[in-house]
């Protein structure tokens, strides 16, 4: 186990460590969470502008090319600077060592390096917007991205994503090593909390898939800057090859964004329902099944491209099969609630909200996975609805659930439950108003990524925009609650929720190196209602 930890002199204020190259995994975790949340606010503001433009069918509020730059930056920030860093870098770093009884991550300096790469990458991405925004969507398909007028912005966009991707690869190596090699003696793989299984599956995906994206983007960079023709049909290149390389990463990226959240939900439900997690092994194996299947379904994003028929069938079957391990998780979660004694704390409300919304996103996903169904709905608002149900209704609801659940552990203070509930109900109502009508818009004929649309779609778009406004407002009670509680909240005990996983056995917040003395051995992290405990 590592013992290398920066020590602080008493004269230095405690908060300064959050602004330094600190190698404590808990500091790095919080650095990731706070940084990514700031990017979330920027991405959200961009979404607000996009929704404002779409309240009318004419492209009247924003210049159409600026509009394209805005949704491109919105999508890129939300994926690469909010959800991925928050769920892996944030929760992964904070929780994995605490849950397996380790003093820190396996490679603490690499860990700090990975975090500090996200800041210049983020600044580079924001800068790209001001030199002429990349306006080709987060997919950056050539030849549009090669022929674009905004070459400088597109190049900065590519460099930023490569830097974020590198950070992601470093983090993945660190998580795999930590989970496999740094567990407290006596803790077997099947004694680990399910969040650690989810992080293992996530890290394998990130490690195998991210280098392919980096390769594709470097080739694209050469096409833009140096006149090569890897993807440029004007010189004999093939733009469809880029799509394969891009989605080979970007479909698994979806699981990188959701698997850790599945893990968070599997931690929260048992604690607040006072029941053991139902089907521990099935949930652990289902994460690994999603990891394997997730690598083999990328071309379902390309059913309307130049894809051979047999491949479309292969990817249909593979994609629909993802519903099986996902269904195992959902049914296990509901069985966990069954006959429990549910405490409706803010974290539990968001976790229950997550289950209800993710089901909707998952069912739309099964429909999209079917090649013939996709022929109609591909690149329409139906897809926009679907991925916001899984990434916002899924990942973001899960992040909020996790933030409330571990807030006492991270800060040593309690949050305000009333404002947490207000935050939940505003978010739940705003979310559904904003994204549910988009299913209908897409089925009826509205394409995505447009600033102007057929006037028959106006009323549904106005409802979506009202939902977006409520969503924007919903972050205010959250922010005020978090900032006030962090500085002035009631002091939290080591284990305010009477939870059984290992991170709750230490102080809140945990000391440097996590435990004074040896961490205890916990081999049954979910033994609620079983007489051996309590």
């Amino acid at each position: 186990m590592t013992t290398a930890v920066t020590s602080y002199s008493a004269s230095r204020p405690e908060w300064l460590k959050y602004f330094s190259f600190c190698i404590d995994h808990k500091v790095i975790g919080i650095q990731y969470i706070v940084t990514s949340f700031l990017f979330y606010l920027i991405g959200g503001a961009l979404a607000g502008l996009v929704r404002a433009e779409l309240t009318t069918p004419e492209p009247d509020l924003l210049d159409p090319s600026l509009y394209n730059g805005m949704f491109t930056l919105h999508g890129t920030i939300m994926i690469f600077l909010w959800i991925v860093p928050a769920v892996t870098g944030g929760f992964g770093n904070y929780l994995v060592p605490l849950m397996i009884g380790a003093r820190d991550m396996a490679f603490p300096r690499l860990n700090a390096l990975a975090f500090w790469m996200t800041i210049p990458a983020g600044l580079l991405l924001i800068a790209s917007f001001f030199v002429g925004p990349a306006s080709t969507g987060w997919t950056a398909y050539p030849p549009l991205s090669i022929l674009t007028d905004q070459k400088a912005g597109q190049v900065l966009w590519i460099l930023s994503i490569i830097m974020i991707g590198t950070s992601s690869i470093l983090a993945a190596v660190n998580f795999i090593t930590t989970i496999l090699k740094m567990r407290r003696p006596g803790m077997g793989l099947f004694h680990m909390p399910l969040f650690c299984w989810a992080m293992l599956a996530t890290s394998v995906l990130a490690l195998l898939a991210t280098p392919v994206l980096a390769g594709a983007l470097i080739l694209l960079l050469f096409d833009i800057c140096f006149g090569t023709v890897f993807f440029n049909p004007a010189g004999g290149g093939d733009p469809v090859v880029y799509q394969h390389l891009f989605w080979f990463y970007s479909h698994p990226a979806v699981y990188v964004m959701i698997l850790p959240v599945f893990g968070i939900i599997s931690e929260i439900l048992p604690v607040h329902a006072r029941k053991p997690i139902f089907g521990y092994k099935a949930i652990a194996y289902s994460s690994m099944m999603i990891c394997c299947l997730g690598l083999l379904v990328w071309a379902h994003h390309m059913f309307t491209s130049a894809t051979p028929d047999w491949l479309r069938i292969f990817f249909t079957v593979g994609t629909l099969l993802v519903a099986v391990p996902t269904g195992i998780k959902v049914f296990s979660w509901i069985a966990t609630l069954w006959r429990g004694k549910i405490h409706f704390r803010s974290s539990m409300l968001f976790a229950l909200g997550f289950v209800s919304l993710f089901v909707m996103g998952g069912l739309a996903g099964v429909m999209l996975g079917s090649a013939p169904i996709d022929l109609h709905v591909h690149d329409t608002y139906f897809v926009v609805a679907h991925f916001h149900y899984v990434l916002f209704g899924g990942s973001v609801f899960g992040i909020y659930a996790g933030l409330y659940h571990w807030f006492p552990k991270m800060t040593g203070r309690m949050y305000n439950e009333f404002w947490g509930r207000v935050h939940f109900f505003l978010t739940y109502i705003g979310f559904n108003l904003c994204f549910f009508p988009m299913h209908i818009l897409g089925l009826q004929g509205m394409p995505r990524r447009v600033a102007q649309y057929d006037p028959q779609f106006t009323s549904l778009n106005v409802i979506c925009s009202i939902g977006a406004l409520i969503l924007a407002l919903s972050t205010i009670p959250f922010l005020v609650n978090m900032i006030y509680s962090w500085t002035r909240g009631e002091r939290a005990s080591g284990n305010p929720w009477r939870a059984l996983t290992l991170e709750w056995t230490t102080l809140s917040p945990p000391p440097t190196e996590n435990w004074h003395g040896e961490p205890p051995l916990v081999t049954e992290p979910y033994a609620y209602g079983i007489s051996s405990h309590s």
Binding site: S65, T136, A234, L320, I373, L375, A451
Partner: protein, 294 residues
Amino acid sequence: MKAQRIVSIVVLVGLIISAAVWYGINNHLLPEAAGLEAEAYDRLFNTMVGIAFGVFLLIEGLLVFAILVFQRRPGDEEDGPGIGENLRLEILWTAIPIVTVLWLSIYSTLVYNRMVGKEPLTIAHHHAHPHTTYVAMTEGEEGVTEVDVTAMQFAWIFTYPGTEVTSGELHVPLGKKVRLNMQAMDVIHAFWVPELRLKQDAIPGMTTHLEFTPTRLGTFNIVCTELCGAYHGGMRAEMVVDTPADYQKWLAEQAVAQKQGKAIAIKPGEEFFASIPHHVPAHIHHVINEELVR
């Protein structure tokens, strides 16, 4: 007590299945179909929507039930029962989804093969072409109306092989198989008519194909669905389904008009460009003029 419980479960499952079937038939989520492929699509779509709605009701129902019934009573600090597994239940909720998705995969494959012309849609009208594939079509098939489609920023251009006709509007005859041979001049575009339920990318450097048989007279929107630049949202055109007689008449009129050198309007792109001329690079006007106003 036990019998009562079984009866109520059977009744609830029956209600969910009835609601799923009803919604599958009556969802009205899609615009009215206008092609043979769309009719095959709608049967699959309604089946999947019905199943999805049933699963949705089941899971959300269980969730709401759990939330209402399994609340902690005030002051109760006890844990719930320590039950963490039930092998029979777990096998059940693994096996049923496997069977369902495999069945949906087979059904999807059958519908897919029909929609892309690998299998006949109606045996009476069309003979089967088991050897043709989506990307490699045979030429000059009898009874098939071929149209060459050129996509460019931000317009669609339709030319009719064997005639002089070039148009910004796609005219097709009712009840006849239409084959589009699509090319893109600059970036990737995608051809979509919502009422046909069909979409295909037009990709620079290659020719892609789309086949359909219109079954309803009228005018339908052609929408570009692949992000193609600033005015992607304005890249629309119209598809007019004529009776075969009207279609022939239109072709003849167009041929005459174009010999006399009359310009062809592209709709609604022309209005769109006129409304925001300062945004559109000059070369695009130039390209459109060259292509259309010959």
